[in-house]
Each structure stands twice: as structure tokens, then as C-alpha cells.
Symmetry: C2
Amino acid sequence: MATDGAGMRTDTLKIALLGCGTVGAEVARRLDAHGPELTARAGAQLELAGIAVRDPSRRRTGLDPALFTADGAALVGRPDVEIVIELIGGIEPARSLLLAAMARGASVVTANKALLATHGPQLYEAAEKHGVDLYFEASVAGAIPLLRPLRESLAGDRIRRMLGIVNGTTNFILTRMDETGADFATALAEATALGYAEADPTADVAGHDAAAKAAILASLAFHTRIRVGDVYREGITAVSADDVASARDMGNVIKMLAICELSADEQAVSVRVHPAMIPRTHPLAGVREAFNAVFVEADAAGQLMFYGRGAGGAPTASAVLGDIVAVARHRVGQGRGVGESAYAQLAIRSIGECVTHYYVHLDVTDKAGVLAQVAAVFAANGVSISTVRQDGHGAEASLVIVTHSATEAALAATVENLRGIDAVREISSVLRVER
Amino acid sequence: MATDGAGMRTDTLKIALLGCGTVGAEVARRLDAHGPELTARAGAQLELAGIAVRDPSRRRTGLDPALFTADGAALVGRPDVEIVIELIGGIEPARSLLLAAMARGASVVTANKALLATHGPQLYEAAEKHGVDLYFEASVAGAIPLLRPLRESLAGDRIRRMLGIVNGTTNFILTRMDETGADFATALAEATALGYAEADPTADVAGHDAAAKAAILASLAFHTRIRVGDVYREGITAVSADDVASARDMGNVIKMLAICELSADEQAVSVRVHPAMIPRTHPLAGVREAFNAVFVEADAAGQLMFYGRGAGGAPTASAVLGDIVAVARHRVGQGRGVGESAYAQLAIRSIGECVTHYYVHLDVTDKAGVLAQVAAVFAANGVSISTVRQDGHGAEASLVIVTHSATEAALAATVENLRGIDAVREISSVLRVER
């Protein structure tokens, strides 16, 4: 490669793009349209050398047909390609192509959360071994600059806890339920009609998508290898219109949260994804519709929040382009960015050991002594009650109990014991309450 | 310096600290307390080589008295010191010490917004010339990771506009006025009593502090050298309890904003600091008390917001430590981070050319034809009216007008002409309304 007298590269830096869906096409278009600006920022001209897709014969508006190829392996293997952008998604062939690219010294950028959440350690190690960059800002919370601040800006701080709204579909559904009083099915139907939910919404509403993102976030924040299988997960399908109304009565709102927490003794982390009540005064409560946000509590920095669009072609392309520029700058400077680290190697706490507050909604027979019986069960399991609200209606009553902090195991035992009380007709809801 | 076989440094990296006030002491304490963690993140052991202060004989709890010196120049000149942290504040001797440090090849970290907003270009050029890092995350919005995302994460995007709450004192005062109905003087007194405002609050309430931060933000976002003198500035001292109440009636809230905007033709930027109304549904409206936040609108990323503590010893120390780790990593890798760039060299638009919406509150004589006269003045100056609200009380009436977008020059001419109407008794308020 040509360099000027000062060792700065004066030539072009070639980029291979794998995948040309919504995000890929947007990245390709912007690389072309913003050429001079990107060159000024990267310190070298960025040239798209090729785009690997399943069907290269398909016309893509505004993109040179000569760029397309069906042979991703050959494109990745080209010795003149220095940066490989993976936007195919899924595990294979994405993983093999990224490993092949890194093995021959190319830097890589990916938005593939599923791949990182399952094979992250293998990829991080490959990047380290071959001395190349592996960047993946777009994999969590789309356009929001989040991973770089976590691993760079907060490098001198200690993260205690992260609460993230990292799935736009579930946030849209819960926002609608909160605003209109709709039940889950109605809100989901609206999300589907508006394009916020996929035809098969399982990955979103069951929390798989959020769990993958939580694994990536927790790995970075706690310098520990955390895979998606380490993440406790509950979806939002069981959240009822009644739960949403109860939350509102209590000055709370229900959000689907990805929670990554350092234990009090700093020896373990817990990572969980589930619906939870948070106070309406919490900064996350105002994150509405399909927006994402991650709230961070750090030792020195205190409370931080990062807010923005978590999905969509242009927002995701913004994050990918930011990574491309960063990686290009490193290659121009013959350096390398900060790699992943797992030096802390903290233990991963099981869900039973997690400590939080709980909201328990019981339907009981309205007769003397029921509250005493219920309260005794909580006490026997060491779960301290913070507030109780009893509403009678005829022969029945509803009992809403919010606890002080307790372990999940203690709460589970409490719920199990409550089922054994005759006067408890139904445990209609159990939700976590985060502060 | 020692290196292992792979060229990685295995020894320590020496740091000089200039200034040991609240932030400096916190940085020194954390460098000591979090040694192993910082070493793992930086890739080298970080050692505090000395602390320059005015009075080295003063005891500082938890810090080795042998570290202290009154001779900042000698400390900065030590050939074994590779990173210099400037936390003295003010222009001199901070500027000379930073220039001396960079000239002999040390990298520097500073939190000095006043220095950057006035002599930034000279410092950026020195860093470039000597091939060292100049990092200053703590200079704007304290702990919030903001500058690094702007110059790195969004490097592949184009920022259109930034609206920032970057001064905690004024945000605290305006939050109190909004919540309690207090007037400015009462809210300021409370801020002073609680330590949120200094004995002489001028730098905060007149907008000097916010203007310096706006200059730094705009320089980064628009790749153009912008100094504090280029920033239009109005303080919050004229904001009345009536204005706050009117804003509330309109579903708005008044915030002190730093606004950095790219013109529609992308040839110019405007940078201004003043109180403005924003809708209560805007994410910035929920930023309360002394918190800071910066709302960013970018081409591809869309809307982003960064939220957190803008001041305080520990939060500011978090940002400084993040910079120290970044700079240390670059030295370990024998590289250098992204420098500042001014390649865009955009023109700076005068306040008269700025375009926004306005709220105009008039006290008028309540007689026939006044509204027609007033409306004619707006029309004659090409300022289109969006909403009018007239409230009569006896012989007088108040007229609240909100305009469509118009230039500041057109609005100023309108106000000037309104003063010439006999029936206009007083123009009690003119405020900008941001969308």
C-alpha cells in the first residue's frame, strides 16, 4: 500500500460487504454518497470492493451490479480486502466467514447479535490472536453509541448495574398497553400491522432477542464471558391489561428489561431479561414506542442513560459506519482498537440467587384471617412485605402485595406455599419491581 | 521502557497530575484504589508520579505527601512522565503546561472547558504536530460519555442538530421554578443553599459555562473550529414565573439549551445558548434537577440522547479516568487516538440568520382592532403566526403568540415594530420555542 512521507496511507482501503438487506444496502449507499466526508474522517478512501449475496443477479437500486457475487468465501479471501462487514445474520456462514477474514488479517465489523451471544468468545479470541479489530456496535441497541462508551469511556469506572430497554417490539407493545389499556394480543396485532413486530414475533416477545443483547452487554460491562445460555429469560406474553393498570395505580410502568448486575460482594454477575415494574419517574419510563435505552449505574459516574433508535436500516447503518470508520482509522495508523477482555472472570449467579422486589397479585376469598395467613407465608420464607392493598368485591377480594428485596428463590418458595392456602383462589400475577 | 517478546509493555506508565481539588483528589484516589483493574484495562500499570499544587505542604487524606510539588513545570518536564492530567482550570498556567507536555511527547487529558473553548485550536494542532493524544471527555457534561461517541461512534453519520442541557445549575433552577412556581431569585437562593450554585452564579446563570461547552461540542460535531466567542448567549435571569406558567399551559417546559445546528444548505453552523421552550413530551423535558443531557439528531442514527451527571468530583473523575485508560492503551500500543479535525471549515451563522419558533407575550389595551394591528406587524415582517391566545382582564388583555419558524432578524424587527404600537403596553416576554 502507498504511504506518504510521514507514513500516512494515501491510497484506498477496500471493504467487503456480506449481505445486502435493509442495513447492508443502506451501508453501501452511504459509503458511496458520503465518500469525501468518510475519507476525511477515516484518513483513507473507503472503497466497496464487493458485496456477497445469495442472488447476485437481482437488481439493487443505486448499487453497481458488478459489485455483487454469490461467493462470500472468495470475497472474504481477497488479499486486497482489509475490512469485512458481516450483515448476513444467523450463525453460519457468518461465523466461518468472519473467522476466515480475521485469520488472514482483515478487520471485521458485524451487527450479528445472535452470533456474538453464542460464539462471542471464539470471535474475540480470533481477533486478539490475529491482531485485528472486531467491532459490533450495531449488535445492541442499533444506532445508540453504547458499546464503545462501555468499553472505552467507562474503562476507568466500575459498572454496578445496567437496566436496558433493548427490544423495540416489546417496548412498542408495552407502551401501547400502557397508553390505551389494550391487552397483549391487541397491542401485538397493532405492532404487527405497523411493522414493529414480525409475522412470527416469538424472538421478540419471548425475550430471545433481548437475552442475546444482554449477554453482549454484560460481557463488556463485567469483563466476563457471558453467553445467551447464561441469561435468565421471561417474555411479556403473560403481562395482562390488569397488570398494566395495577402498575399505573402504583405510579409504575411495566417495561421489558435486560438487567445486568454485579453482586454486592463483586464476585458474581446476574443477567436476566423479563418484564418488570419501574417507577414512572425513572428515566427509562419515558422511553416509549420502539425506542431503546440503556440505563447504567457506575461507581463514579453515577447514573447514565443512552437513548435512541434500536433498529431500522438507517440507524443500524449509522452504527456500522461508525465502526467502519474506527476500524479504518486503526488500519491507517497501523494500530488496533481495544479488544474484548475477560480478565474479571466473574461467576454467573443463578436466577434463584438474584435479589429484587416483587409485586404479587392474589385473588382470595374475602373472609377473616386470610390476610394473616398470607402474611405468615411471606414471613416464613423471610420475604418482608413493603405494601399491601386489599380490595373487596363481594365474596372475593384481590390482594396486591409489594415486597422488600428478597431472593428469587425465597419468592418462588413463597408463591409455592401460597398455592397451598385454600383461601387463595388464584395467584394472578407475579412481577418483579426494579428501583 | 521494558517490553515483552511481543512488543507489549510490561512496565509501568507514569502519570503527572496538575491540580488536586475535588476532581483531582478523586482521580488520584481511584488510580490508587483500582490499580489492578486499571492495569488490566490499560495494558500497563498506571503510576502516579507526582501532583502539582499551589501548596504542597497541605495534608491531603489518603495521598502520599511525597507526591506533591509546587513546581508544575518541572513535573511536566520529567522525561519519565508519559501522561499529564490537567485539572487546574483557567487559562494559565494550564495552557503552557499542556503545550510543554505535548511538545516533549507526553499525552494529555484535561477537563478544562474554558481553555478548550478559547485555545482549543492551538491545543489540537499541538497534539497533531507532536503525535500525542489530547483527550477531554470531562470538559462537557461531566461523566456522560459524549465526546467519544460524537467523534467516533457517529463518525460515519452526519449530525444535524444538538440540543444540550449542559449546565446543572440552571437546570436545577428551572426545574424548581417549574415544579414549585417559584420565581428566579427564590429558585437561585435554593440552588445556592444546596450547593448547586456558586456564591457568584454569573458564569452559570448568564450562560458563559454553557457557551464554552457548546463551542467544544459544535467543534467536534461539525469538524469546524468554533470558539466561545462564536456562540450567541443569553442567560436565564430574565425568565419569569409567568413565563414558566405560560410554558406549562402550552404543554411546554423552559430549559436552558445549548443548540448547535447545521444549516439546511449544510454550509454553515449556528451555535447558541439561551432559555427555550420545549414540549413536555420531548426526552429532554424529563431531565431534571442538576442532571445534564445532550439530544442529538443525526442523518442516519435519528434521535439519540445521552444523559447523566454533569458535575461533581466522582462523575468528573470517571470521565478523566476513562480518558487516562484510553490514552494509556494508545501508548502501550504505540498508537494514538482520533485527533480533532476541522476539515469541514463551515461558516458560522450569526444569530440574526438563525431560524426557530418564538413565543411572544404582549400586554395590550383591550380594545377593538388591537389584534389586527399586532397581526399586521408580524405579517409585514414575514413572521407567520401559529397560535394566538388572548385573555382579557378589564381594560387590559394579554396576548400570547407562538410563531411558525422565522429568522431571529425577522423576529427582532417584529418586536421593534410592536413597540411602536400605542395599544401595546408592554412586551413582557420573548422566548424561543424549539421542536
